[in-house]
Subunit: 238 residues, 6 copies
């Protein structure tokens, strides 16, 4: 039995609220149950130095957590004067995943910043961030197309992400915080809407896991990602 | 004429949404028009070193702005590795203002962190933050009273804050971004619900201002603060 | 009675020693009683990036305190690796105030750095800094005129600053450290020599203050600023 | 064909040189071909604060790269004033992996620091680091047992790590730098000597990968890890 | 001929102004010609952790330069967020030199901070700092003796410092800025009043120097240090 | 008697292993007994801004110590976020010393980075670094000549460095760690192969030293440096 009463292969309530704030080219509040992340896509002229003159664009991500998004208040990274390892790891993952969804040549010499700020955390903030950032990115591309800053849509297809894990020896989908903090194995999976794998990160927290378990978990992730992609499509009116 | 069409002494739509997130002892989304700030109050045992053993509590504030809360994206302070002067100035103001609303001895040796994070900015983020943080603080005190961690309510009364300024030679109340960026004089005022002044910060952006103008602006601020206090009271069900 | 025996509307001994050090274009040691600040004005070619090509100059300030300027030694900000919130707040105030004294277009694409370093502190370091920096700025403009780097004097007029406050329920002028650390209300005022207000920053330390008190304090500040301006003029031989 | 002429399932020359430096409790130079990493294990009394009094030990890792370990010199992180995201990600991975090899309760309240410093880089520095750190850890445990600071060997078994990837549409084992910088998919795998998975991190650099490819790559990794474990055992004289 | 017209073995005008500021236990303005450094000695209870419980005291130094102490303005280290290598090198030298003048056991578990802040620079700021800090230290020890915080004077004797160098192939004493920036060899020497060497730091800026030159320079330094010690004694009324 | 049993004027075993790693233009492992430092020379196009357009090159050094190069582990500077004073002092010394060995005009607008990373420390890491960096520099110059990036060899001659000191009242050559930590006087000397002095840094750790002692120590250093230069020449096949 899961603490939330969900079936093993049942996602939390997933929603994408577009145009959540008004300044960004894309602005989406994504909710995976009580996990809520504000994902904005901001477009700037130009690319980082290592790409100058190569005729392609760039997509990068930053991740943050409001101090009281969590059960107990965690110190503000801006006040501590540096981003922690977990933050850097997550924002590298988000950027890498979204770049896999895009044909950077069609983006021209533009940079898209994906800011994922967690307003409320209950497990799965990185998977919600990736899934929400993709919708914000789609909206930003629409703005660029409307403003004729780009000619073709750079999107190769939607991507989404979900966590799966072994909880009480059972494979479960979309771990919430009580599950996440007690799971034996935790795996974050990023996939395209067409079923290709973009990233697999599986970690044994205690007992090592087997290849069979890995296989079962990947199957569960595929199912969850199809659910999320459907929600993304609904939100986008596709 | 004001860009928004408001009367000179007219506030923007002000609202306080309590219990906006679930983990914090107090969590309020405050809106002054399109300016939206999430204010949380987090209670921790103990006090900073300089207060140890003095039998009183402490209230401190931190302020942040999501990177795309503004028209153009501004760099993330956590990524730059330090908080800017404007951020430090505002969070010092919020902390000082709220301490003026509280009898710190009744708080016992507890510290309340007031986190004000701007989700969307359209002028007046510091005045909205102070006004919203006060409501979050009231909710946090209720929690402390319920949990019997304190015996008496430490609140001396509500405080609120508003900006006033000279715009096109006219005194106006509650400047939004288009006004704020073109005002000759900008004044932020913090007051108690009983009409006492907690803080006055007036700045001439171009032409110096006169004592008569200062006097008129303070009168306008008094009016606006009464409006805000009424909204705070409604939100609190008082 | 004031600890120093001064009358309520009596300034401390104020002096401006020009050409205090030899390298800077302007170098003034300002003393408000035992508060001593070395203010230098340094001129550099060019302007910050956000002003490039706009045909105007820039004035900025930095503030520092020698570690043993105070009763007990305070840590060196360079050693701690960052400037504190109080420092940033004061240097922003100094820069903003002095820019109000100057026609930046007449300055051409030059930047003036105003460095205010407190050698000895006894209350009122920010007001002394502003008042001294103005004299250093006048000297720097004279050098620029002599060297024909500018054609017209950019100065609109002198500015000066003083603190006023409620001490033992009495309004007093130019608070020294024993008064400052016990005042109920503390107000820093910056004015032009012609009586215009550039900045008002009033703070209730304990009990809120009334509009009448604010009014009385502003009157006292006007008196003090006239005294300081007279001393500035004497020092400049005007 | 691989640039090195190796067969698809062929490891580079792997070696572990124990007692490479003299001060550390464990000191191992690990080579995966031209990739050379100095791994030291340093034991200190006590544990981090979050573990105090829980009767268990801790294992943590730090990773660094000498500036000219790479083809072109990369800036020294100590000079830049912070560790990059890649560094933090790798050292978190090393620490997490090695903790999976150990029964922390048998370690008592001791902390082992695993320092992995890359002397020469040619792809696979993180997998070499994990494999070498494990041998250094075994040596450190022997020292602790000899000195009677612990009673039982905390090691659950050896762990090792290898990379696998899709290079020119072929699954290959133990990517060197020319392969790594051109691979479509890159997967780092950490396993126990008994064949359990500790960590899987697979990333599609360009084209997404399929579940079949993932499966093939895991099989290849299992083979490579058995080779490395055999080398570890030889070096340890087991 | 020297730019200043001084004889090769002639010091600049040296002066020590005691009680220059009022808060510090020792406060001395030292001038070596136009080089002016404010040296304060601040006493605090306790010692750094590595000395706790050893029944001895500690002396440490910090060095700073006001931004416009120099011909062209140099950036403020507090604003840049770190102390430069030259600053750290000089303050390590000052601390080490002064500890050589003191019996740390007689100081008890007290720490003396020697802050040397350069108000105006014209060459020789480190040698002036050491010579001035010694006088400030003597004054601080007198205060400690008066307040009965220590029983015996910890001073072993005065120390002083001077620079010597090869300028236009001539050995010269006490280099000012025009000499220092053109010298072939620059040597800073710290000695006790009894003629013992505490520190010798000689550097060839261009052509290497010979042992004979080194010998001549040391003789010149001995002469200069005797002059400085005489001035220290006069200032102290010894 | 010396702890190592060496004669007072006897160096430790000195060796230079060239081409120790493969990427750098020069790569030398230098050993002074158990002190082992990896010195690499990396050539980059261009010079720092202050040298732009002057038609000369630049040589700079960075120094680091692996965390467990020492008896007890010392914190990683990259993790602490800044280089300590000792590190900065040493790398300034290495850079200054090597620049004295080179005609920077013959180097053209190229910069050579000398990275000295201590793998194992047993006293004398800075003197070994300088001596090893010189050999790495020679190799880098050969590469530049071969690649026709420079026309003439910029080397003026070899330089080397050694420490000397008073240990148990005896002058000794090349102090190892047990001697270094107990010496009364410690002197680091840098000389050219032709016998010219580049740098002398002598420090009295306890009792001041005399001019005679200084003289004796310099003589001993001359002897040691001749030994080291001979080893450098052997390694280079000169």
């Amino acid at each position: 039995m899961r603490p939330s009463g969900r079936a093993p292969d049942q996602m939390r309530e997933v929603s994408f609220t577009r145009h959540y704030t008004k300044h960004a080219e894309g602005s989406v509040l994504v909710a995976f149950g009580d996990t809520q992340v504000l994902c904005t896509a901001s477009v700037e002229d130009g690319v980082p130095r290592f790409l100058k003159g190569k005729g392609q664009g760039w997509i990068t991500a930053e991740y943050g957590m409001l101090p009281r998004a969590t059960h107990t208040r965690s110190g503000r990274e801006a006040a501590r004067g540096k981003q922690g390892g977990r933050t850097l790891e997550i924002q590298r993952l988000i950027g890498r995943s979204l770049r896999a969804a895009v044909d950077l040549r069609k983006l021209g010499e533009n940079t898209v910043y994906l800011d994922c700020d967690v307003l409320q955390a209950d497990g799965g903030t990185r998977t919600a961030s990736i899934s929400g950032a993709c919708v914000a990115l789609v909206d930003a591309f629409s703005v660029l197309l409307e403003r004729k800053r780009i000619k073709e849509d750079p999107l190769n297809g939607l991507i989404a992400s979900v966590s799966v894990g072994m909880y009480n020896n059972e494979p479960v989908l979309d771990l919430d915080y009580p599950e996440d903090s007690n799971a034996d194995t935790d795996m974050n999976v990023v996939m395209t809407q067409h079923g290709g794998f973009v990233e697999i990160q599986g970690t044994a927290e205690g007992v090592p896991f087997t290849r069979e378990q890995s296989d079962t978990l990947l199957g569960l992730a595929e199912k969850g990602i199809q659910d999320i992609v459907r929600k993304q499509q609904e939100a986008l009116g596709w």
